[in-house]
Structures are given as structure tokens and as C-alpha cells.
């Protein structure tokens, strides 16, 4: 990964690490703050029944 000229490798790593944590937080809210996956699995399960 190319490091922006104004950042040291250590600062770059620190920035990227925090960005991943925040990105993970966004994904966590996407998949758990509403019954999306639960509902999807239930529907898939129901449709799979004979």
C-alpha cells in the first residue's frame, strides 16, 4: 500500500487500523440493528420446506 507523503508508516498504519474499526462498526449496524438476516433466513427456510 502506497503511503501518503505526509504520513509516516506508523501513522498510516494507525489511520488504516482505526478506519477498519469504524468500517466494521458500520457493517455491524448494517447487519444487526434490524432483523434483516433473521428475516431472510426465516423466509429462505420457509420456502425450502416442501
Amino acid at each position: 500500500m502506497r503511503i501518503p507523503r505526509h504520513q509516516t508508516p506508523a501513522l498510516r498504519n494507525k489511520n488504516v487500523r482505526l478506519a477498519w474499526v469504524l468500517g466494521g462498526m458500520a457493517i455491524f449496524f448494517l447487519v444487526t440493528s434490524f432483523p434483516f438476516w433473521t428475516g431472510l433466513f426465516r423466509i429462505v427456510g420457509t420456502q425450502a420446506m416442501p
Binding site: P4, H6, Q7, L11, K14, N15, V16, L18, A19, L22, G23, M25, A26, I27, F29, L30, V31, S33, F34, P35, F36, G39, L40, I43, Q47
Partner: protein, 531 residues
């Protein structure tokens, strides 16, 4: 705050790209900030054009120009363009331009992601505009007549334009979340040595809170519209009662995003005011710590009161009581912010340049919008006001002064810094007065229309509402046309004018005013030391 080392003159233009590559591949926070602001200005005019059409239609009772579905499509597009296309990108533009310069950072923490965040926006705007245009073509399906709330079952039933809109919302959400991540990382990791969180400029604080709010609530909207997409195309029944789903679930998901979105739009402007009012009062901001506390309180309570938008759906008495009390509680920290602004002005050596005029107007008119908000928070009253023009008047009094006027104040305050030229103060004041007078003529009568029973999102209305609608539409013409003057002032300032000093305003404080006007392409390549 005192700076002891100012090495910004090290910045040179030797590696500044030129031509279209400079903008398309830009990783420079100032260029990306400019792109955001130009994009927002374009969308402001697009959203404004749809608003003008709405008001022209409502100039007289009866159907004048638009069929009912097209009218509702315009209402939908106006809201989405203004919120996602104009206000949020404009605030992001201010953030991109100012945050690195304010905290003594050479650029945003993740410059290439910054480029991506912006360039997703034109693609999203194209999808958004296509959602409006597609129904005009053969086989394009029906118009999106749901309003910006996209409630099912209507949103499941409308044509393929809804799919364009859902995709546009996904793209806008990705752009917002990426930009928010970048802003948080920049603010937490890139501050100049010696600048603590509690000495950070207030504009940075407002954006820190805004960015966290965006990361928390935008994914929920993304989930909601994804479920809508599944209901439309993949045979699921998340929101279809016939299949065991619940349409009210979508309302909860939407407003879990939608209510904090109000604060997402407001807080950056509160940040701007926190700089403009002290600068033109020649006093430090009153109650810095209480402002930070109030902001955090607003964000926290604002996350858990979403259902006050849904009082009429038939919630339990306990639920509506909770949401009512929570909503009214928000007026305490918001009131505290307003009192802090007034206390900052108190006995200050005030002058009334255009940014300060907007700031004073915001304090007055946003408070007015907040008061009608307290009326709407009260459940039995809201049962009467719900879905009436009173609500339209209320949220325009909150969002125009609270968000848009704040952005105008910011643009006029920082325009000399960005361009190196002072704007024409006389024209700025003419713009302010025509804008504010036009706004009030447009929206003040809508309170009476709503109280008299005129519903919103209806193309036609009873004869008894004619007079106030005529006044409102005349106001809208003044208000809408006044923005052409803004465009003229901005272009004139970019092209020339009186040279701006580094500290363009006598009372302005902060690191950004230590830099030249306009600042070099790269600034703070060596971090300033803050004492």
C-alpha cells in the same frame, strides 16, 4: 491557543497536477472540498427548480401544471436532492476544506478514500435523477409518489424508478460512511501536537459527532431499503402484511435514520456559528465545554426518539409517552446552544457582515422552528398537525436556517480564505435580505395553512386556502431567484476583488487564519506546535 511554529511556507505548488487529472484523481483536501461545494451548489439549483415547480403548481387551487403523480415525484425528488445532494455534500465540502487547516494537518488521513467518497456522489446523483426521468420513457413505469420517506406498500408497488432510487440511496450511504470514517480518523489521529480534543475548534467537534451519527444510522437506512428491494423483486415479505411482514417496520427503520439525520444536517452549521459569532462579536465562544456536552446529549437523545414521526400509527400509550418526553428533552441541550450563542454576543463589539447577519437570523429563526417542534412533539397536538402544511413549515424553519443558512454563513466567512478575495459586502447583504425575507414569506403562511387543515403532498387544495398559498408562492419566487445572486457573488469573488489578508476578519481566531489567503496547495507540511 497560541502557535509557536508556523512552517506552512514550506508548501509549494511544484507537484500540483493540472487539467482534468487534478480534479478526477485529486487526493488534495482543498480540491476535494471545492468539488463537494460545486456539486452541492449544482444540486441546490436542481432541488430549488423542483421546489419552484411545486410552488407554481400550488399558486392557485386546481391542477395547473403537473399531474398528481408527477407532483408527488417532484416532492420526493426535491427532498432527496436537497438533503443528500445539497446540504450533506456542502457540509462535507466545508469539512474537507477546513478541518485539516484547523487542526494543523497536511491533509485528510485517508486521501484516496476521500477521492472515492466524492466521486461516488455524481454516480449517485445520476441514479437519483434517473429515478425521476425514467417514468417519462415508454415502459418506464409509474412515478415515485411516496415522498422521501418511501413508505411501503406504495414503494413496493411503484415502477422501476424506485430501483434507481434505492441504488442511489445505497451509493449515497457508502459515500457518507466513507467520508465519515475519514473525518473521524483525521480528527482523532492527525491533530497538531498539543491540540487536545477539548481545545479542538468547535467546527471539528460538530463534525466528529456528525460523523459518528452517520456511521451509526446510515447503515440502518441501507438495510431498510435493501429489504424494500427484496420485497420488490425477490418474493420476500418484510413489509407485506399479507406475507406475514409489517409495513410499520420500515417506518421504524427509516426514522431510526431519519431523525438523527436532522442533527446530521444541523450540527455542521452549529459548528460554523461557533466560529462566526465569536469572530464578529470579538469575544471567545461562551461555554465551550457546555457546547460539547450539549452536542453529545443531542446526538445521544436524538438516536432514541425516532418514533415521534409516527405517533399516528397506533403505538401503546407508554411508547408514545416515552417518545414525547424524550423529544421534548432535546429542547434543553439545543436551548443551551442557543443561549451560549446569545451569551457570546452579549456585550460584544458586534459588527454585522453577511456571515454574522446569517448567524443572527439563524438564532432567531431556528429557535422559532424549534418551538413549533415542541408543539409537534406533544402527542395529542401532533395528532391534529400530522401530515399537514404545518409540518412542512416547521421542518423548513428548522432546516433552512439551521442547516442551509449556517452553510451560507460558512461560505461567506471562509470565501476570502479559499479564494484570496473579499466578496462584495453590499451584494452579500442584498442576498441575505432577499433570501431571508423570501424564505419567511414562503414558509410563515404555511403554518396557518396547516392549522386550517391543508394537507401536505397534495397537488390540489380547497379554495379557502388560496390566499396564503398565493403569498407563499410569491415568496418562493423571491426566495428561489435570490440564489442566483449567491451564484453571481461566488463567481465574482473567485474571479477577483479586494485582496484578502491571511486573517480576513478582525476577530477570527484559529490555525486556518495563520495561513495565506488563498492557502498554498499543501499546507501544514510541518505540524504547528500548539501551546
Amino acid at each position: 491557543m497560541t502557535t509557536t511554529t508556523l512552517n506552512h511556507d514550506e508548501a509549494h505548488h511544484h507537484d500540483m497536477p493540472t487539467g482534468w487529472r487534478r480534479w478526477l484523481f485529486s487526493t488534495n483536501h482543498k480540491d476535494i472540498g471545492t468539488l463537494y461545494l460545486l456539486f452541492a451548489l449544482t444540486m441546490l439549483f436542481l432541488g430549488g427548480a423542483s421546489a419552484m415547480l411545486i410552488r407554481l403548481e400550488l399558486f392557485q387551487p386546481g391542477i395547473q401544471l403537473l399531474d398528481p403523480d408527477l407532483y408527488n415525484n417532484l416532492v420526493t425528488n426535491h427532498a432527496l436532492i436537497m438533503i443528500f445532494g445539497a446540504v450533506m455534500p456542502a457540509a462535507a465540502g466545508l469539512a474537507n476544506w477546513m478541518i485539516p487547516m484547523m487542526i494543523g494537518a497536511p491533509d485528510m488521513a485517508l486521501p484516496r478514500m476521500n477521492n472515492l467518497s466524492f466521486w461516488i456522489l455524481p454516480a449517485a446523483a445520476t441514479m437519483l435523477i434517473l429515478s425521476f426521468v425514467v417514468p417519462f420513457f415508454p415502459g418506464g413505469g409509474t412515478q415515485i409518489n411516496t415522498g422521501w420517506t418511501l413508505y411501503p406498500p406504495l414503494s413496493v408497488q411503484v415502477g422501476m424508478s424506485m430501483d434507481f432510487l434505492i441504488f442511489a440511496i445505497h451509493l449515497l450511504g457508502i459515500s457518507s460512511v466513507l467520508a465519515s470514517i475519514n473525518i473521524i480518523v483525521t480528527l482523532l489521529n492527525m491533530r497538531a501536537p498539543g491540540m487536545t480534543l477539548m481545545t479542538m475548534p468547535m467546527f471539528c467537534w460538530t463534525w466528529l459527532v456528525t460523523a459518528f451519527l452517520l456511521i451509526l444510522v446510515v447503515p440502518v437506512l441501507a438495510g431498510g431499503v435493501t429489504m424494500l428491494l427484496f420485497d420488490r423483486h425477490f418474493g420476500t415479505s418484510f413489509f407485506d402484511a399479507a406475507g406475514g411482514g409489517d409495513p410499520v417496520l420500515f417506518q421504524h427503520l427509516f426514522w431510526f435514520f431519519g431523525h438523527p439525520e436532522v442533527y446530521i444536517l444541523l450540527l455542521p452549521s452549529i459548528g460554523v456559528l461557533s466560529h462566526v459569532i465569536p469572530a464578529f462579536s470579538r469575544k471567545p465562544l461562551f461555554g465551550y465545554k457546555s457546547m460539547v456536552g450539549a452536542m453529545l446529549t443531542v446526538a445521544t437523545i436524538g438516536m432514541v426518539v425516532w418514533a415521534h414521526h409516527q405517533y399516528t400509527i397506533g403505538m401503546s400509550l407508554g411508547a408514545v409517552t416515552y417518545f414525547m418526553i424524550g423529544t421534548i428533552l432535546i429542547s434543553i441541550p439545543v436551548g443551551l446552544m442557543i443561549f451560549n450563542f446569545i451569551a457570546t454576543m452579549w456585550r460584544g463589539a458586534m459588527t454585522f457582515e453577511t456571515p454574522m447577519l446569517f448567524a443572527v437570523a439563524i438564532v432567531l429563526m431556528f429557535t422559532f422552528g424549534g418551538l413549533s417542534g415542541v408543539m409537534l412533539a406533544v402527542v395529542p397536538a401532533d395528532m391534529q398537525y400530522h401530515d399537514s402544511m404545518f409540518v412542512v413549515a416547521h421542518f423548513h424553519y428548522v432546516l433552512m436556517p439551521g442547516a442551509v443558512f449556517g452553510l451560507f454563513a460558512g461560505v461567506f466567512y471562509w470565501l476570502p480564505k479559499w479564494t484570496g478575495h473579499m466578496y462584495d459586502e453590499t451584494l452579500g447583504k442584498i442576498f441575505f435580505w432577499t433570501n431571508v425575507i423570501g424564505f419567511n414569506i414562503t414558509f410563515f403562511p404555511q403554518h396557518f395553512l396547516g392549522l386550517a387543515g391543508m394537507p401536505r403532498r397534495i397537488v390540489d387544495y380547497n379554495m379557502m386556502f388560496t390566499e396564503f398559498n398565493v403569498i407563499s408562492s410569491i415568496g418562493a419566487i423571491i426566495f428561489g431567484l435570490s440564489h442566483l445572486l449567491l451564484l453571481y457573488i461566488v463567481i465574482k469573488t473567485i474571479r477577483g476583488g479586494k485582496k484578502a489578508e491571511s486573517r480576513a476578519w478582525e476577530g477570527a481566531k484559529g490555525l486556518e487564519w495563520e495561513l495565506d489567503s488563498p492557502p498554498a496547495f499543501h499546507t501544514w507540511t510541518v505540524a504547528p506546535q500548539i501551546k
